[in-house]
Symmetry: C2
Subunit: 219 residues, 2 copies
């Protein structure tokens, strides 16, 4: 079992009653792949300590276009599902289970209560937020400066690394949603990649043939 | 004179020796318009408490393109000029004086030292970062979902509000840099706006003629 100390490296510096409060308030939850766990400001769920599985945080345009901001994995803490804790968070993130997930849920008010007393917990929370901020800044730079072919190559490599194999079960439409692009653009680029011998396209899947080639394109 | 309590609403909750340490370590500085105050990770200046003037935070591409992330005004605290305080900040922001500025500078290590002891100061710092995060998320949504004509209309209105008048002393090149676009694109759009009676273009300046028109375009 993943222990709280693995989520909070500074756990031993908390007072024992603070540790007890956090443990007592935590609820273990299992959620199926595909479920939206948190949707913008409509609810204030709490912090999620991810025991297993994979979460995806994304934003949604008025027309329903999605752009993936970042992903969270085993031992990550999902902070923005408790964004109601902070007055200054004025944006709407959606968080979904990209795989079956199991997590500890710490209610926002409990966490906020301890954070208001504990400099140690507050400073650690600062670091988590700074880390997500860095993820979003990275994405922003991708969007601003990188052309779509580079982004697509990087995306395919990232997916392959996550899946542990070069055969990706993903549609062009799904890739377009991840990258905030249109399906037509992605299809055109993938055909270009296929022409270059980088990938082989099949119905509903993409096989990576040339990892070094994609890497040099994405660099 | 702008007092520390105006920057830190929770000032009275700090211990008196913490207050004394912050005050003693602070240096008052005056910097000329156009000066780059902070450049990415090359230096670790400290927190800036802006007494007067205006700062601009932006990112820079390899090719020298700039995109404005946010601006800071009187009574704002500039946190990322002390980004070395946090390990998890992995992005490079440049901060320049957009007008002549006067500020208190608190060295990063002094601030970090007090933040590590004081939950009050750490929580407040959290709120500052969340606020900047919200600024950046707003910009990201602009970049992703809004077409450039909407962004340009919003930019002209924002400039007019900042300057307190509808006659803007700004070149197309400067606007393009702010919006991460090309001068040609901005010139084309401004001519379109002029054709619609929204603005009048002059050498080195833009006069806003139709505020409600720009507002409905930017909405």
């Amino acid at each position: 079992m993943v222990e709280f100390t693995e989520f909070f490296p500074m756990w031993d510096l908390l007072a024992s009653e603070q540790q007890a409060t956090l443990i007592k308030a935590s609820v273990r939850r299992v959620i199926k792949k595909g479920t939206v766990i948190y949707r913008g400001s409509t609810d204030c769920l709490g912090l999620l300590l991810l025991i297993s599985g994979q979460l995806r945080a994304y934003i949604l345009s008025d027309e329903g276009r999605e752009v993936t901001l970042y992903r969270l994995f085993e031992r990550d803490i999902c902070l923005f599902s408790a964004s109601c804790m902070m007055n200054s968070i004025q944006f709407e993130i959606i968080i979904e289970a990209e795989k079956d997930v199991e997590f500890w849920l710490i209610p926002a008010e409990i966490y906020k209560g301890i954070m208001s007393q504990s400099a140690v917990l507050s400073n650690y929370t600062n670091e988590i937020m700074a880390s997500r901020f860095s993820d979003v800044m990275w994405l922003m730079e991708q969007l601003l400066w990188k052309s779509m072919d580079k982004r697509l190559a990087a995306f395919l490599l990232e997916e392959a690394a996550l899946e542990g194999k070069g055969l990706l079960q993903i549609t062009h439409e799904q890739i377009a949603r991840h990258l905030g692009s249109a399906r037509e653009v992605i299809t055109r680029l993938l055909r270009y990649f296929q022409g270059e011998g980088l990938v082989r396209l099949r119905r509903g899947s993409i096989e990576i043939l040339d990892f070094p080639g994609l890497e040099s394109l994405s660099a």
